[in-house]
């Protein structure tokens, strides 16, 4: 039997399929998010099954998570990304006590107990200043792909000071910095620092190590360094940064199936 986790994020849909004993990822896939979230997730799911030669009847249970979870009609149930990330991280790096997840639209800090259960969590409020959206804004303003931001930031020796309170204000600051001739790499590094400082503000006083960094933004070079500097503690990147939530969803689907004797 196969169990599926679908993480319908704001920028991407991620799918992970695991085997019956939950020890092996048998397939994973991701695609850009769009307006018809349910249809896109269904198409990606069917495509993933087909590409891996898995009959639909082999899939025992599907669990959806993420921002668009309630739009996924093929899912048997939904659970929030907070819980799913905790389960996914517990599976990948059991000793982790703090998860920093930065996605396209939101960021989260999840505190875990020694058993990997969620002890507490915090999420960004209404502003996107601590999220991947901030990086998209700066990439758009500089006319470069988001994927190249990390390499660019690594060339900075003097990151710019940029407000972490509001992306809209920060964009105005970026325009001002550009007009003053400030190097693009300094601006990108400054934005990374601003995101990191937003996470620190959200974390408050207690960030217990080990710390694991998940979410699509974890794939951007330099972000973990910015977080480490801001937190004053080591930050490791998840082995499956973008898939952690979907993996947790798949594991929970399997767990639910077991408890229901399906």
């Amino acid at each position: 039997m196969i169990y599926a986790g679908i993480d319908a994020g704001s920028r991407a849909i991620k799918i992970v399929l695991i085997d019956a004993d939950g020890s092996r990822i048998v397939a994973k896939a991701h695609a850009d998010q769009g307006i018809e979230q349910g249809r896109l997730a269904c198409e990606l799911f069917e495509k993933t099954l087909a590409e891996n030669g898995i009959p639909r009847s082999d899939v025992g249970r599907i669990l959806a998570t993420g921002y668009g979870r309630n739009a996924i009609e093929i899912a048997d149930t939904t659970i929030t990304e907070i819980t799913c990330h905790a389960v996914g991280v517990r599976h990948l790096v059991p000793e982790v006590r703090t998860i920093i997840d930065i996605g396209g639209q939101d960021s989260k800090l999840v505190r875990l107990d020694a058993n990997g259960k969620v002890r507490d969590f915090a999420m960004n409020d209404r502003c996107a200043a601590g999220t991947g959206r901030f990086l998209e804004v700066v990439a758009s303003r500089l006319g470069i792909p988001v994927g190249e931001l990390g390499a660019m930031a690594s060339r900075s020796s003097s990151p710019a000071a940029i407000s972490s309170m509001c992306v809209v204000f920060a964009e105005t600051e970026i325009i001002g910095l550009l007009s003053c001739g400030r190097a693009a790499e300094d601006i990108v590094a400054g934005v990374q620092n601003a995101i990191a400082s937003r996470i620190v503000a959200m974390a408050g006083r207690s960030v217990e190590p080990p710390i694991l960094f998940t979410g699509g933004v974890a794939r951007i070079k330099g972000m973990e360094t910015a977080l480490q500097t801001a937190l004053g503690r080591p930050v490791a990147i998840s082995p499956e940064p973008q898939m952690t939530g979907a993996l947790g969803a798949a594991l929970l689907a399997r767990r639910q199936s077991d408890s229901m004797n399906l």
Binding site: Y67, I79, T80, E81, I82, T83, D106, D113, N115, K117, V118, R119, D120, F121, A122, M123, D125, R126, G204, R205
Partner: protein
């Protein structure tokens, strides 16, 4: 007459109303179907879900007809007192005089929610220089300008000093618009110094006797103003009678809260409980009717608790909620996401405590005013919240911020930290604007995650 507890929408209430009327339900003069208030512009009602009991219907109709009551009171020759930034002190004095009616202009902070921003009150406040960096209570300014939501009071009082900075600014702006205000000062409550007379206040905080004496003298000025407005004296005997009546309201609420928060199945939704609790501070412009409304509600909750019925699943996560919400819909959302209200601190915990009756009445009121959790240290307030969380056996805590409200920004983090450290419970901090529709998905994710976390902890 009442069926099983459930939450119903406005259409369902219309049908239920017809059924109840046909079955002979008696109603007060302000009764009627809930949906009629939509015609008055209260469009948010279309998006809320309500308890299906006649007692809840009466509560809602009572709340939504306050302006009619104020106009009727004026027509009958009574004088109106607007008690601003007052969480349960001046109204007790005012209602002791039978030709005065006190109301709570700050209550206008819910108008942008209930009328879904269609009133223009916030735009008026914007135009007066009080923009969205201030608490939604700035809608009160617009209400004074339009005179469309309450009649202008004959006397306007406002506490100042250790109260919200943003409210003080709003009230000063109101004063500048030509509305005279009788200010009375409430100092920041402090711990007694060694050698000072220490007084334990209702609710357990302590303050130096000198501060109580100061507040008593401030309230005396208000009392004199009320007497002048009423044209009669407010002697101690009359004031004690007024205090006893206020204590009836507080006692009803204490019983209501205890049952609603501790019954195995939740016997009354969070939304109706929020509305009911608010009656403690302003009586919705009719103290006698407040007692009847709450008596009815308590009877319904008692019946349900005894029958072991409720509108939520038995395994709903027990959530303690700190601070009132600007959007009433947030209360529905908590329950939609699997939570159950089991304890609240809506900034006026002191107004739920009985007013002392064994000391001179003005001193008793001064003690109550100083017992306000907002006029002392945030740590004091947090400590009281922690005690209530334990009392009601909460499994999770929500600290809800009011956008622009200065005390929320300052106190929220302290409360959250103390709850985490002393109770070890998950704490969710959220901000609830007047209309949450655009942020509903993210708000629900947080509420669901909190519920999941609380339930998961049961299994450990």
């Amino acid at each position: 007459m009442t069926g099983e507890p459930r939450q119903i929408n406005l259409d369902q209430w219309d049908r239920e109303y017809a059924r109840l009327r046909a079955a002979g339900m008696a109603e007060p003069i302000y009764g009627g179907p809930l949906s009629r208030h939509v015609a008055d512009g209260d469009t948010r009602l279309l998006k809320l879900r309500y308890d299906n009991s006649p007692a809840a219907l009466r509560l809602w109709n009572f709340l939504l007809t306050e302006e009619d009551r104020l106009l009727a009171a004026r027509d009958s020759g009574k004088k109106l007192v607007g008690a601003m930034k007052d969480l349960g002190t001046v109204p007790v004095m005012a209602y002791s005089l039978d030709n005065l009616v006190s109301f709570y202009p700050d209550g206008a902070w819910w108008i942008p929610c209930v009328m879904e921003l269609n009133t223009g009150l916030l735009q008026i406040a914007d135009s007066l220089g009080i923009d969205e960096s201030f608490c939604p209570v700035r809608a009160m300014l617009g209400a004074f300008v339009t005179e469309a939501h309450f009649p202008l009071p004959d006397l306007l009082t406002c506490s100042v000093g250790a109260t919200c900075d943003d409210f003080s600014a709003i009230a000063q702006r109101l004063n500048g618009l030509g509305h005279p205000i009788l200010w009375w000062e409430i100092p920041h409550r402090r711990q007694p110094e060694p050698g000072e007379q220490a007084v334990t206040l209702p609710g357990g905080f302590s303050a130096p006797g000198s501060q109580i004496e100061f507040v008593r003298s401030e309230l005396l000025r208000v009392k004199i103003a009320l007497e002048e407005l009423a044209g009669r004296s407010l002697d101690d005997e009359t004031l004690v009678a007024g205090i006893l009546k206020a204590n009836v309201v507080r006692d009803l609420l204490a019983h209501l809260r205890h049952l609603a928060f501790t019954a195995p199945l939740c016997p009354m939704p969070a939304l109706e409980m929020l509305i009911a609790e608010m009656l403690a501070i302003h009586f919705c412009s009719d103290q006698d009717e407040t007692i009847l409304v709450l008596t009815n509600l308590l009877a319904e909750v008692t019946r349900r608790a005894a029958a072991g019925t409720g509108h939520l699943a038995a395994d709903a996560a027990r959530v303690f909620w700190v601070n009132p919400v600007a959007d009433l819909r947030a209360m529905n959302l908590l329950e939609d996401c699997g939570g159950r209200m089991c304890g609240t601190e809506y900034l006026f915990a002191h107004a739920l405590d009985p007013i002392p009756t064994t000391i001179p009445p003005m001193e008793a009121l001064a003690q109550m005013a100083l017992a306000d959790p907002m006029v002392g240290s945030a740590f004091d307030r947090a400590a009281r919240i922690v005690a209530d969380i334990r009392r009601f056996r909460a499994e999770a805590v929500i600290v809800s911020r009011i956008p622009g409200a200065s005390h929320c920004a300052l106190e929220g983090e302290i409360i959250a930290r103390m709850v985490r450290e002393e109770c070890g419970l998950p704490v969710l901090e959220i901000e609830v604007p007047s209309i949450t529709d655009a942020t509903q998905a993210t708000l629900c994710t947080r509420l669901e995650a909190l519920v999941e976390t609380a339930k998961d902890r049961r299994e450990r």
